[in-house]
């Protein structure tokens, strides 16, 4: 049997060799980034999310908002005119899991922080069509009467601390107190209002 035939007739072996060949590209394109400061260091002024914002991020992920919203302004003129300064890698070092996404049924949310008022977000999340009549975004009315999951949020903070987010022991100890009486809606709005605020909002 020729060598070529050996590979051709052994699907397992072929799979392994294909994986090895492809992984070269992966190593060369991805691995160097992991040690590059502009990618792994936070931009100046970026803070890890406070407990309420973190709880909001967990709601954002569990409600699947990322199915319709990206969080990445790409460096194109039209996008920066609409959404603001393009996103840079150092802004999402505290996003685990990251929410860059690529599906835009709704607008990008990377710089939505401070753009609208809390009241507007609350009305819009409860019933989007009451402020944007043609919206096809679903309403999330239950968020207003569901309390935030305090235990889960504190656990999240502990895990993120292990992964290198600079939470102090005090931060974690005081987290539960700052979350009493907060609803998932409060948390989600706090999270949205924090998005993209570490950078100048517009590129001008």
């Amino acid at each position: 049997m020729s060598k070529h035939e050996k590979i051709e007739k052994n699907i397992g072996l072929m799979g392994v060799m294909v994986a090895v060949v492809i992984s070269f590209a992966g190593i060369i394109e991805i691995a160097p980034l992991m040690s590059q400061a502009s990618v792994v260091e936070p931009v100046p002024g970026l803070e890890p999310r406070n407990p309420l914002e973190l709880a909001g991020q967990n709601v954002y992920v569990s409600e699947g908002c990322y199915n319709c919203h990206s969080q990445q302004v790409r460096p194109f003129v039209d996008e920066t005119l609409r959404y603001g300064h393009y996103s840079v890698a150092g802004e999402s070092v505290y996003d685990r899991p990251f929410q860059w996404g690529s599906k835009r049924t709704g607008p990008d949310l990377a710089r939505v922080g401070g753009r609208y008022s809390n009241e507007w977000h609350e009305i819009h999340l409860m019933d989007p069509r009451s402020v944007v009549p043609t919206s096809n975004m679903p309403g999330y009315p239950w968020l207003a009467d569901t309390p935030v999951d305090i235990e889960q949020t504190v656990e999240s903070m502990k895990v993120l601390k292990m992964l290198g987010h600079p939470y102090s022991d005090d931060d974690i100890a005081n987290a539960a107190a700052s979350l009493t009486d907060k609803t998932q809606l409060d948390a989600l709005v706090a999270y949205l209002q924090d998005l993209g605020t570490a950078m100048p909002r517009s590129y001008q």
Partner: protein, 294 residues
Amino acid sequence: MSNFWHWTVIIVVIAHIVAYLWLLLATSKKKVDKREDNTTGHVWDDDLMELDNPMPRWWLWLFVLTIVFSLGYLYLYPGLGNIKGSKEWTSVDEFKTAYEANTEARNRSFAGFINKPIEELIKDENAMLIGKRIFSNNCALCHGSDAAGAVGFPNLTDDDWNWGGEFDNILTTITGGRMGVMPAFAPALGEEGTKQVAAYVRSLSGIDHDTSLAAEGEQKFGMFCAACHGPDAKGNDMFGAPNLTDDIWLHGSHEIIETALYEGLNGNMPTQKDILDENRIKLVAAYVYSLSNQ
């Protein structure tokens, strides 16, 4: 990129290109034993065979071409570790150039009308068209696509202004944003006092009310409310305190009066100066102004 990765990337990339070239030459030279029927000898499914024709030449040249292309690309563009490439291209520079060109084009198209006085600006069809588009993209989700507002978000098409309806007021409102705060007064007024003031406020707009309560309320209004809403209750642009005599309600209807007194109210018009440049703010302000000044 650290020195380690710099050299690793260079070595792996060059090694790959050399390996592809070698693979191409090695396999194209290799002679396969010719069979009489010109097949490879493989047989699948009883009678399925594979012809053993050489690859077309032009196809082979495509492989060579991709290698030549990659060398040219690596010479011009960044690809080998930290080497910038002869064009010194970066995506940020490309973006900057495109953005500057766009800004220049925008300013050129605004130049014709941006410095016109407001009364002329609102008669300029192009300016109003652009203003309307800016409004649709940035303001409609709160104020409505027809600018007629919603509960808590003011109607911008009427003559009722909480922060002033002159062009300069509107410009200031949009540029810096506004924060309307109405504190809760029920604790200070007490239950009875709250009823009285509420009745008085209803009377101002000619809504059904208890006249004797309202008469009591008038004096309390002067003490607690006139500072912001004015002694005649016609409002005050400085605090964004609405006119309470016109039966136009920022927060929906007169049903809001009790809520206003027990819980307070607030409205936040977010600042736009970080979102829109000066020219676009001026155009959208002119558009808003035009809605009630034809």
